[in-house]
């Protein structure tokens, strides 16, 4: 009932706005104040190619995402903005009662995956911004992004993320979860021949409402068809969560960023102290022993026979510092069209990151968690190049490649994570039809596990309101899932996707 009410109100609001005079005006006058209202509705379909224990062949996702973006400018220095959203995966209605869906336990994920009705999922952002002089203060539910490299996050650790749908084509507003925090920035007006500009950012999160990353969890009963393949018969974890106390000074988060333009380059230095957005876990020995006593193994079995391992999860402390630099190499004009590349380098040093210890070692007496420092760095290049006979007149082909590697320092063999974790991300796209058609190829490669995820897609601007896109995702790599596997967990999930977006 609550869900239907939220949906109805949302659709009514959208219809009211769409029926309003939006054809010429992009901004409105409401009670003498400037108001911006924009939004979009998108519909995504995924079509799976394989029928396996954790996946459905045919259409297996029918995801509607609606976003309403509004702001009011109260005066030159004060404005309030909000983004509200609605996400519904109708496949849970279409497949309700379907034998295969039920047999695999996919219907059991309905609560988590069907209708996003948590307040923080509907109210995505709500903040007031005040900009007196050289200052900026923003208070409210907001997103702050650090870092630059495309691929696994290096510095970008402030906001939790919604990873429930993995690699599905979703917008930033749906992949990043804004949280309640205060952002303060100061631009000290340093403009000299070396330091062209400087901006200092401070963020403070009092943990008013703890919202962690919505992780891609094993178990079709919790993550539906997106759940990673951990083996047939395995369901979700039985989790006991030790959450961070709200408004507790021990759980406050602080971030500091110095951002500068130096000789045309963007240079950042960052520091963060707070709480990791992803949890670490240990087996819930009490519950596991209880299950062993009951039926001989540590798992709990549900009505359809899925095994659930009991674990205790908590969100550990996190502290890191790092930075990045990005510069276009204006002297590198040797390529056709004299287009120049952008080079990027990003790194972070995380202190005392908490790692899970292998369960065998824990059973032998090792502690469940060990802290180690981690150094992560990434380098990237973005280059737009004219390729005769391939690129359309006036448009180059953009190559965007990033190499990201992470090393656990003073490595301990008992850790459940590998010492090195390296990814290569390679994206190439170009534009045709007066930049209305953008075909793209993307490769994400796990260098240690020799696993690849390919995405081939195209986006077409039909008119000023409608964009359509579609493509294919394919996994390539060893068929046996190893402990070090990452992309291999999605080997059964090759699919085609199609998306239509209406903007207003």
């Amino acid at each position: 009932m609550k869900k239907k009410l939220i949906l109805s109100l949302f659709l009514l609001a959208i219809m009211a706005i769409c029926n309003g005079n939006i054809t010429q005006a992009e901004i409105y006058n409401v009670a003498g104040k400037e108001v911006h209202i924009l939004g979009q509705i998108s519909q995504t379909f995924n079509y799976g190619f394989k029928d396996t224990y954790d996946y459905e062949k045919g259409i297996n996702t029918v995801l509607t995402d609606a976003l309403l973006d509004a702001g009011v400018i109260l005066n030159d220095e004060l404005h309030v903005n909000t983004i509200v959203g609605l996400s519904v995966d109708w496949i849970y209605d279409f497949k309700h009662g379907d034998d295969s869906w039920g047999r695999k336990g996919l219907n059991l994920s309905r609560d988590r995956m069907y209708f996003d009705d948590e307040y923080w999922q509907v109210l995505k952002e709500l903040h007031a911004t005040w900009t007196p002089g050289n200052f900026l203060f923003r208070v409210g539910k907001q997103a702050v992004t650090w870092g630059l490299i495309d691929g696994p996050n290096i510095l970008n650790q402030i906001n939790p993320e919604d990873g429930r749908r993995g690699e599905t084509e979703i917008e930033f507003e749906n992949s990043v979860i804004p949280i309640w925090m205060i952002r303060a920035e100061y631009n000290p007006g340093i403009y000299n021949a070396f330091l062209n500009d400087l901006n200092i950012q401070f963020i403070f999160n009092p943990n008013a409402d703890f919202i962690p990353t919505q992780q891609l969890e094993p178990g079709p009963d919790t993550n539906g068809i997106f759940a990673p393949a951990v083996g047939e018969g395995f369901g979700s974890f039985d989790k006991t969560e030790i959450e961070r106390d709200e408004w507790d000074s021990e759980n406050f988060e602080y971030g500091l960023q110095f951002q500068a333009f130096i000789e045309g380059a963007i240079v950042n230095l960052n520091y963060f102290k707070g709480t990791a957005n992803e949890y670490v876990s240990e087996m819930d020995m009490e519950a596991a022993i209880g299950n062993i006593m009951d039926h001989g193994d540590p798992f709990r079995y549900d009505s359809i026979g899925l095994a659930h391992l009991p674990i205790i999860v908590h969100w550990p402390d996190q502290e890191f510092f790092g930075g990045y630099i990005s510069r276009d190499m204006q002297s590198w004009t040797f390529m056709p069209g004299k287009r120049t590349p952008i080079l990027k380098f990003e790194c972070s040093y995380e202190l005392d990151k908490e790692f899970e210890v292998n369960s065998d070692d824990v059973m032998a007496g090792a502690p469940p968690f060990i802290e180690k420092d981690v150094f992560t760095w990434g380098a990237g290049i973005e280059w737009n190049i004219n390729i005769p006979y391939i690129t359309a007149r006036g448009n180059g082909m953009t190559f965007n490649s990033s190499y990201i590697t992470s090393r656990i320092l003073d490595y301990d063999r008992r850790l459940g994570s590998p010492r090195d974790d390296t990814f290569l991300v390679f994206i190439v796209n170009t534009k045709y039809l007066s930049a209305r058609l953008t075909p793209e190829f993307m490769l994400v490669r796990d260098m240690e596990a020799n696993e690849n995820l390919y995405t081939l897609s195209a986006e077409y601007i039909y008119n000023s309101s409608i964009t359509v896109s579609g493509g294919l995702k394919k996994y390539d790599g060893p068929s046996i899932v190893e402990d070090s596997s990452s992309l291999g967990l999605f080997q059964n999930k090759n699919h085609a996707f199609f998306k239509i977006t209406y903007q207003f």
Binding site: Q24, L38, P132, L148, N196, Q330, K338, N384, I461
Partner: protein, 478 residues
Amino acid sequence: MNNWKKTIVSILTLLSVGFGCVTILNAQETWKLDAVKLQEEKKLFDDPRTYVTAYHPRHIIPPKSYAELTYDVPAMKKKMEELVGFKAQDKVGKIAPEIKPGKYSYKDKDKYPGIEKLMIPLEYRRWNPGALPLGFNFPEFEIVPTKQVAFSLPLIEAGLKNEGKTKLDDSGYILEETQEPGLPFPKPSGKFKAQQIIYNLQNSNAVGDSYHGYSRGRTWDRKFKIISKFMQEISYLKLSDRVTPPIGYFDERARKRREQATKKVKFLAPRDSYGDVYFDIFREAADDLTYNYIWLQSMRKFRKLSGGDTQDTKPGSTTIFEDGRDFEQKLSPTRFPYEFKLIDEREFLVPAYSTDGAEYMKREGLEWHNVRLERRPCYVIEAKQLDSSFVYGKRLIYIDQETFQCTAIFNFDQKGRLWRGYSSVYIYLEELGLIGPYYTANWDYLDEQSEFGMTYGIPVSWLGRKDMSIGGIKRTAK
């Protein structure tokens, strides 16, 4: 409410009060256009209202500042004639003298063959009712008397004071160390006359040393289906060769780093660009590319853009970055050099400098109405591109002899095919001496797309580094 909550709320309240007081005490007088009022005063289509007179800068700029930005018009006109050596009206009336001021309809074409002689050939084809596949035809127009158009007094006086100081090298490229404020070559002549005219076009500074405005527009395909729409807030600050205080370089950093200007463009529409801010730092030296940055609102990230990617088509648009202000491409002996040829100097019947903003677009058929044309003396320059890897092989540029504003430009691809065209109507605010972009019509003749933008801006002498900085961008962004 626990103690920490109370503490944080108290601190925030104190800070708010404190900064509020500081802000009030140190507030600098600022002004800018009200985007909502702008939309109310002039709709994008089917609106013949004279919004420039209704929403004139004198209604926006505080009286004291407005007085500082306006000048004695007769003095401006006298000195403008001294600067360029003539008045526009003295150089017209010789071609098809039988064509007098008055109203003309496309139905009268056979009666007035002289009009075809007077109009730019590619513009003459627009004198028709609206029709597929390209927009912005005009079935009627009114010829108005030619008027003298003058820059602001500081700009004219700087040009007079520094006349003859700016030099070219043996290949016709400007020696930047010799360039001074004002029009570099007010009376172009000699072997490199064509280059001098182009340098005047790119350095006329007719919008002033600082400018803020809004631009709205649409792009249509060959069936007049809208494929893109935009609304932008534009801020521009000149950093070198300034004619208003600070004269010359804006500050020491601009002098040391040889910065020419900076521009900030915030997108208010479409939705997927809403909140994006493009930020450019233009540099003086011919081979120094612009520093380009973008605040990507969709990703909440600051990104560096490549200064070399200026030939790309903007998504859903007919324009490329090099075509900003019609011909923004830097003249360089090493990076896409041109061979310039002055192929004609004569009068043309071109869109008149609008003083009231009464021109409007009709949604049906994408027709222009309230079109006023004026005989203007023009230079016609052919610019042949010497690097075959550039998008264009040739440009044909029509430049007003008095103001050095580009009235039309046509760009051809490397195969010699007509590719893109631009035609501009300028706003002329006489007592400010401001000549600003108003209506710009663009066409992609090969893909048969039409795009039009309506821009309105005013001088904003309060604009400074604070506004054109990382902090300024973030304060501008959503």
